[in-house]
Amino acid sequence: MSQPNNFGFGEEEQMLADAAARYFAEQLPVDQLHKLVADNPDPHRDKHSPWAEAQWREMVELGWTQLAVPEDAGGLGMPAVGVAGLMEQAGRAAFPGPLLSTLCSTYVLAHCNGEGAVAAFEAIIEGHAITLAMTDQYGSWNAADTDVSYADGSLNGTACFVQDANRSDSFIVSARGPNGIGLYWVSKGAAGVAIACDAIVDLTRDQARVSFSDVSAVELSAQGTGQEVLDSARPALLMLLAADMVGAAEWQLQTTVEYAGTREQFGHSLGFFQAVKHPLVDLMIMIDHAKSLVYNAACALDTEPENALQFALMAQSAACDAAAYGCSRSVQYHGGIGFTWECYVHLYFKRQKHSEMWLGDGAYQREQLAQLLIEDRSIA
């Protein structure tokens, strides 16, 4: 290994993380977030979910949305560990907007060599949000499984579980052609594109099925090369999602610890009781592991890409475990109040359960890791 001791987390990265923490605390505190996204509790409410569009615009102005765009494509070329720091803060704020999607798309584009990639980077720099449309009807975690086909320059089929579909300006579509998987860029407004919102549990996310009917598309990565691009981008995607989840888990821990410190029962604060104290300690440890593994994975992206996949799988597995435990314990220890809509805890509960599944849960990451470490015996 040849990673710097500090994960490459220097002054610039520190400043970004601090700025992001301040920004979210001021511009989207949790009471405001709740008002924004949880105003209507009815499960049968309109499927279009409200989001923080104004804050997204401000982030564009701040340059955060183009952080990961390489310098030679006109972006800021921030090391991945810095992007992780930002994403962690966005997760901590349960940010309802296409930041994660756009950053994920950026890392996919970085591995595309089609001409379209340059234009897509330019769009991001201009403030466009781009998202990935790659998942099949079964929610497969193998990005090469797609129900969209490509032939004669146009796309047909449906991508499911597309994140931020309504909040984004365009899609990166994975499609199967006669020579294999290719990646294509499609504007949301293009003829033949239809978006059908999903009614989802998570109140901070937006998800849809996106159908393509003879949609003409810009090639980002030629037929037969798409799988390799997605494989290369996977460590970054996992790392970014894990960073988001770690931030959200920290919110869950902190909020629950604060509640346990004030709520009294049987003459003591809840935190006095080992049945509460010890699980909260275990949660803290799980979060610490996940966070350290996220930084390690991010640092590997910057300095030892050959190890990035294994480290990203570890980070995501740890983040999923921390998320699952954090969800369960934050509601349980908030007691009756934690079971109500008015308590903010449910926002994070729902976001984390969603995140746990998006790129594959912990067990899935571990089996992927086992294939790397046991079959290949490539233990670091």
Partner: protein, 414 residues
């Protein structure tokens, strides 16, 4: 298990009667969507379907079989569980007056005056009067003895002021069982237990406001008392004995009381779907054989299989333990298994729902209103609702304290 094998003659006759009656009289599946448990009944349409069913079952003698006849019961000996078994087997809907039957009735029966029993129990058993429970308060959850809602004596009356929360069914309820403070200087001996007619007092000392659950559904409420006047005849047992009376309520809530609660149906009411808890893991297996996970069926994923079987075994273990608890020689402490019931049922249900989300994978993101949601979004709903169960009626943490202290004899933690 052939429950009939050890029936007395009375039980055997009654069992046959129940079967015949159910074959002829069990209700048709409803036109409205019913919730997963009676505690979540939200609409009058649901109530209008369920109340007549309880009334009919009561008239036929399947509800309150072991209560005396002058209380509206059947006057039988240990026959309620026969009726329950037959109703479960038949897959009938559940009864709407769940708090009345499970908690209020045995409490009134054990602690109420003869007059009060005869006044209240018939309407309770028939479902004409829905009951709710006023125990929890914003500052008194697990620590029930710290309730602050106050009743002040005023001649033959009491004047009640305070705030109760998490009161399921309060928006339908005619009556409420109510644990109140009558002496601020003594935590345990300063409590008194009442039954209170709240419906008639709405807007006149009683306000019922719906609370919204984490799921987005309503189903429980807060109830605010402002100078509500209640006659002393609605007191159960002595002034200052409220804590002891509440224990009777809780014992029955935990399935460890002396009177068998009339229960019908289970999680679901439609005849096709299985109605017992034992079917929870089977439902998961069925889900796993349909859900895709990582390019194959979830049921083919060995890690999922291992978790599924673990849950299945725990569920069967619970069932067999409850069977074992019936044979005195096979347990060393009479409360050892009964006191596990609530803890295990709720935790198994929680873990089952969590595993269902793993099985569904990304499709678990889809909720009730999504036409593509597996099983209509039942599992994310169940998972969220499961926390109501591990929190209410003694959190899992409190249940473990009780087991450690009462059964294992370890020192009291609180």
């Amino acid at each position: 298990m052939n429950d009939a094998r050890k029936d007395t003659q009375e039980q055997a006759d009654f069992r046959q009667y129940c079967r015949d009656w159910l074959n002829a009289n069990a209700p048709e599946p409803p036109q409205v969507r019913l919730p997963q448990t009676p505690l979540e009944i939200m609409t009058t349409e649901q109530m209008d379907y369920l109340r007549p069913w309880q009334k009919a079952a009561h008239e036929a003698g399947l509800v309150g079989a072991d209560y005396p006849e002058d209380c509206g019961g059947g006057g039988r000996n240990d026959c309620q569980r026969i009726a329950n078994q037959e109703m479960h087997a038949h897959g009938t809907p559940f009864f709407p007056n769940v708090i009345g039957l499970g908690m209020a009735a045995p409490t009134v029966f054990h602690h109420g005056s003869e007059e009060l029993k005869r006044e209240l129990l018939p309407g309770l058993l028939s479902g004409e009067d829905i009951w709710c429970q006023g125990f929890s308060e914003p500052g008194a959850g697990s620590d029930l003895a710290s309730v602050q809602t106050f009743a002040e004596r005023d001649g033959d009356n009491w004047v009640i002021n305070g705030h109760k929360v998490w009161t399921s069914l309060a928006h339908f309820a005619e009556w409420m069982i109510l644990l109140l403070r009558t002496d601020k200087s003594d935590k345990y001996n300063g409590l008194t237990y009442f039954v209170v007619p709240i419906r008639s007092a709405l807007g006149n000392g009683v306000t019922v406001r719906p609370l919204i659950k984490i799921t987005g559904e309503t189903g429980f409420n807060e109830v605010i008392f402002e100078h509500l006047v209640v006659h002393d005849r609605y007191r159960l047992d002595d002034v200052g004995k409220g804590w002891q009376v509440a224990m009777t309520t809780l014992l029955h809530e935990r399935g460890a009381g002396t009177l068998v609660t009339p229960t019908a149906g289970g999680m679901r009411n439609t005849k096709g779907e299985s109605t017992s808890r034992a079917a929870m893991a089977s439902a998961l297996i069925a889900l796993a054989t349909k859900a895709h996970r990582n390019g194959k069926l979830a049921s083919e994923d060995p890690v999922i299989r291992d978790k599924l079987m673990s849950l299945f075994i725990r569920q069967e273990g619970l069932r067999q333990s409850q069977r074992r608890a019936q044979v005195q020689a096979l347990t060393d402490h009479p409360m050892r298994i009964p006191l596990q019931g609530k803890l295990l049922m709720t935790e198994i249900q929680q873990e089952s729902a969590a595993l269902a989300l793993e099985i569904e994978g990304m499709a678990s993101s889809l909720y009730l209103a999504d036409e593509n949601a597996p099983e209509s979004g039942k599992w994310p709903l169940s998972y969220m609702n499961s926390f109501g169960m591990t929190i209410a009626a003694g959190t899992s943490e409190v249940q473990r304290n009780i087991l450690g202290e009462r059964v294992l004899g370890l020192a009291k933690s609180k």
